[in-house]
């Protein structure tokens, strides 16, 4: 029986106007175009790891939103272990595997918001802006982006932290997110984490 107002997170410091979302980076890469994708995913993983470390330093929550490959009966931690050991992209998974302080949300479909607890989690973290990263830029990331935009989150989609099967497809998706979802698609190294709090606060005054 639930208590009045369930505290969805462990501790107050998790609350932050920003959150980093990693979409489908835990992956067995067991599909036809995996090799092609991995060519881009490997350098991305290194950039993303660097971003994740910076983000953690300033106390932003890190949220993995991931398929669990139909394993609705087992734990996600097992899926991580499996992909970090046996998948074709185990080097990528090993770099990016979630730590103890990271959140994870399992998604049954393409958008991270569809039929998941993400919306409620973000509400409790008091998130107003998302740094959206992961695989694939022109599918799960794109549709997660739109679902975030419809819920009025400010979006950052660093162009070096998302990949698609081809460069052309990735750039086309980034253009779409920039144009319609007002996403900032700068390089991850250009995101200035310290100044973000103020940026979002002032935004809400002007156009809410």
């Amino acid at each position: 029986m639930p208590k009045k107002n369930i505290n969805l997170h462990g501790s107050a410091p998790d609350k932050h106007v920003f959150a980093l979302l990693l979409v489908d980076v835990i992956n067995d890469f067991d599909f036809p175009e995996a090799d092609q994708l991995l060519k881009y995913a490997r350098p991305m993983a290194r950039k993303l790891l660097r971003l994740k470390r910076r983000v953690q330093k300033v106390g932003m929550p890190v949220i993995y939103v991931n398929d669990n490959f139909g394993r609705w009966k087992s734990d996600f931690r097992r899926t991580v272990d499996h992909c970090a050991r046996h998948g074709r992209g185990r080097d990528v998974v090993k770099l990016l595997q979630p730590g103890k302080s990271d959140y994870f949300v399992l998604k049954p479909k393409h958008s991270a918001f569809f039929s998941t607890t993400l919306d409620t989690l973000l509400r409790y973290l008091e998130t107003q802006a998302l740094i959206l990263t992961g695989i694939a830029g022109n599918f799960c990331v794109l549709f997660t982006g739109n679902d975030a935009y419809m819920r009025d989150f400010k979006l950052f989609v660093p162009r070096d932290c998302t990949v698609s099967n081809t460069k052309r497809e990735n750039e086309s998706a980034l253009r779409l997110m920039k144009k319609f979802l007002k996403a900032d698609t700068c390089l991850s190294s250009r995101i200035v984490l310290r100044s973000m709090k103020g940026a979002v606060r002032s935004r809400s005054h002007s156009d809410a």
Copy 2:
């Protein structure tokens, strides 16, 4: 990157017109009225276990929908272990702990459908009717019941497999579900599992 049509469940036999839902039975019973509730929860647990075994025999999916007490960073299996060892109602939790073939869905709030993957899971299992059980009858079970009814599931809420703080409150909730949600509130032993398939099929012809 997700595949086309994710197979949410392991194997075809899981598909069934019925599913058994256990709401918040994994519980640390760490709240003021716990002792009072446990007085009713203990006999309920034995009835529910019997029902669960019958249900498994005919191949119906068993789904635990449970609070995870704000622990969005750890696994549900650990929550089960914790509650089965240390909680005031550890005997109840031990009786009802999920097996390897059971599904579980974490819920952040009172209704099992709110901000969870339950709806999508049930769609894939091709569920048309729910046997709704658990704690508390006049809160999480009641509101889950309504959310199920709005999604057109036929409802069974066996009156000996749900409990509230008082008998009076439990009966009032059962009456409400019978009247407005058209729930069948017979005793669990009266539910005839074998004949259910036909019952639901014919229902959909007459009033869909």
Copy 3:
């Protein structure tokens, strides 16, 4: 093609921490227990009208959330006209019919939040608390109340502005909302509209 951030409401003054919700008061009262219900609905309508006028004076938005009786092809205004002229409860409907400055949201099922635009509308109005009124207290009002509570709205359900088929059922529903949904169920005349803004603001500091 939608513009960036659609302004869901006409004018800034609509923004308010509170909103008044009228559930299913536009009704043809064409069902078996209608006469019994109307016995309670008539005095309720007068109280509710008084509350609505007070609410409008302080600039709170008034939102009708209503079944449209399966008429997904016609306008709600026509439904209002029909019920105000021909229904058994046309006196009730006439008293409470929506004005030009009132919002209305059509709902297909029992909860005002299920499969409707209400959540998005309230987000744009910046609503934090709801005064929940209407028909029936132990069904649509109750389940709307829970959906509001799960979304963290503070609830007022003035006990003289909601009715059920019997007094006993209505009181039982009010008790449930008071206990589990932390609803304030005082008389409508006791709601002090002027002081509300402060009350909600300070709440969010203490237990958000």
Copy 4:
């Protein structure tokens, strides 16, 4: 007070495995790139009208899903009248204005499914496949497409019945929908309405 199982539609013949969706065709075309878009929207309107007539002949439901431009207090019929008389694209709106037997659903955001009643309506119409048309192909149509796909609707997006600001953007969106959402993007004249029923039925046997 709602009745048991509300009949969302007037009459049984509306039930059909297919439905035609017209997204944002009722439009005041009051935005910077409107003239450019209208160049494509005019020929599209004629094709779409032809498709609509064929669709109506075989008894498929026609559903307008449309922004209402923040006018949550007035009727959609008035918005139609306004756009058909005063907008820059009044010729387009006049061609495509909804008839008495058409459904309409107001949407507050880009996807036709977000915060609307569409999902519930389609469930009652027993729709399994959508013919998705309208404006703009790389925004509202695209994101509606994904939301439909996540709900397991089979998709047809006839390439001559959706437009974007440029041909290139439109084709890129169509490619995306073909690849990831498995959409059939043939010309509207190639859609064989008569054979559709069977096609969908057999699909559900093979890959549900």
